[in-house]
Amino acid sequence: MTHLVVKDLTAGYGDARVLHGVGLTVGEGEICAILGPNGAGKTTLLRALSGMIRARGTVTLGGADLTGHPPDTLARQGVAHVPEGRGTFMPLTVEENLRLGAYVRRRGPELEADLDRIHGYFPVLKTRLKQAAGSLSGGEQQMLAIGRALMSRPRLLLLDEPSLGLAPLVTRELFRIVQAINAEERTTVVVVEQNAHLALGIAQQAHVLETGRIVLSGTAEEIRADEQVAQSYLGYRV
């Protein structure tokens, strides 16, 4: 069953067009990987999906039209965006960051349950609750950013380069957790990632983006098997 449907999406910054008619569908509870070289428009695609930049085309999530709404409206519709470079609020404590994640849901008894849920996925955060987010390591900050996104109980989770600046071991652990979250909560995930090998390892389907267009789509296995992709976009033989 398709959950996220993107049709003919164009977006850019000022006069510069970055996306030229991108279309894709993601099934409910699926993980979709977006691959491609630098400057292909991967981050722009996520920004357009979360409303951070204006876009043309249509985006629907579970049948509801998301096109052209401001980001705070989309956050209320269940879109959670973990921006590139994490976007954690450095001077705030870990707990404040997490509570901000539940901002759209106001206060409630479930909030405490949700905090517990996040601690289940990321036990390290629990030991750091009163610490300033800026004092965490890169990996912990990425975990905090994902945990914070989960606090809004999203229907669609957008992850932008979760591996950015992290050690290989930490990255692997992070992807394992993302997979666990997806399996347990049936959250649809769109992940943009430079580390194609890891991303294809958890995704069901993948799209290769080049200069603002999708040049190749398929299941994770198909993309992985594609020699040409490996050479031209991913830079190595898988």
């Binding site: 980001p71 705070d72 705030l92 206060r107 289940g120």
Partner: protein, 342 residues
């Protein structure tokens, strides 16, 4: 998958928490805060009976400025916006109170909510352009408010008394209190200041406070968390103006005289300087800033009669050099140097 499930996590917590939350430490720090607050409250109530009236007046003015800085701190220190026009909101509060007094002989306690409300509405109006502007552009627009206010006040002579201003009777102490006028004004101001302080703390600890901090630290991330930037930026302006207007009303009570020349651009800039020197985004910053705004110009005058402005400027530079995070930051650093008892 080795991911612990929720029930596992719950059991782990009840059986043996991996990291105890250290309640003892929390209690100790909370108790220390209460103790400090109690000492401060006692000192604040004791001081007016020991000081000469002029010093009581000075202390009252410190509180007045502290209320204004509390509002400015909300906007600049917590929401990360800037205002070079807060003197205007201060003036609107002061004039609203003065005109209500002068024209309609309204009992003075009633002038406070009206003055605060008027400033709130004006802040709301100026918060709308603030939604779209940031940094220097916002600074310029807010500076414009401060600039056009003085000529405007001189224009509507009927209401504002023109450049002569309005002279008013100060609130008289009721007979039951047995206080002198300066002491009565001091306690009135103290009550309002404490209420303003508590309101501000409550606001910052709520969902609204978290939203403001998020906007300050990372607008984009705040937006994707679902924080409505436009609503919160506008409201931050309005709340902030409301505190400034409240301070303005207190000013009218305490001084008993308003004139356009009391509220020039200089006031706006002094307020911002006072806040930065006191400590942006800290709780004690507005009070320390109030002390600075009240006393340092006088000290500058004492050092050199000919060029007090130069000395004042040099003192600001000196403080910022020694305490780049403001006096509040400096105080915090010194406190941490005191070895803690185990």
């Amino acid at each position: 998958m080795s991911n612990p499930t929720e029930t596992d996590a719950a059991q782990e917590r009840t059986a043996a928490p991996p990291t105890p939350p250290r309640p003892a430490e929390w209690w100790r720090s909370a108790r220390r805060q209460w103790a400090a607050a109690a000492v401060l409250a006692a000192a604040a109530c004791y001081a007016p009976f020991q000081l000469v009236p002029f010093h009581v007046f000075q202390l009252t003015m410190v509180l007045v400025y502290a209320v204004a800085l509390l509002g400015l701190n909300l906007l600049v220190g917590h929401a990360g916006q800037i205002s070079l026009g807060h003197g205007a909101f201060f003036a609107v509060g002061a004039y609203t109170a003065a005109i209500l007094f002068d024209r309609w002989a309204l009992p003075y306690p009633l002038t406070l909510p009206v003055a605060a409300g008027a400033a709130f509405l004006l802040g709301l109006a100026f918060g709308v352009p603030a939604m779209r502007l940031r940094g220097l552009y916002l600074a310029l627009v807010t500076l414009a408010i401060a600039i056009f206010l003085v000529p405007l006040l001189k224009r509507f002579e009927e209401l504002t008394g023109g450049s002569m201003g309005l002279t008013l009777a100060k609130p008289a102490p009721p007979a039951w209190s047995g206080l002198a006028e300066d002491q009565w004004l001091y306690f009135l101001t103290l009550v309002v200041a404490v209420a303003a302080f508590l309101l501000c703390v409550g606001l910052l600890r709520s969902r609204v406070g978290r939203a403001l901090h998020a906007i300050r630290d990372n607008e984009g991330a705040a937006e994707v968390m679902g924080v409505r930037l436009s609503v919160h930026k506008t409201l931050a302006f309005a709340w902030s103006a409301m505190f400034a207007g409240t301070a303005g009303c207190l000013y009218t009570w305490v001084i008993g005289f308003v004139s356009p020349d009391s509220f020039t651009v200089n006031l706006s800039i002094t307020l911002l300087a006072g806040l930065v020197v006191g400590g942006l985004g800290s709780l004690s910053g507005p009070v320390l800033g109030g002390l600075f705004v009240m006393f340092v110009p006088g000290i500058a005058q004492d050092i050199n009669d000919a060029a007090p402005g130069v000395i004042f400027g040099l003192l600001i530079i000196a403080v910022m050099y020694v305490a780049p995070t403001g006096l509040a930051g400096l105080a915090g650093r010194l406190l941490r140097k005191i070895p803690r008892k185990e």
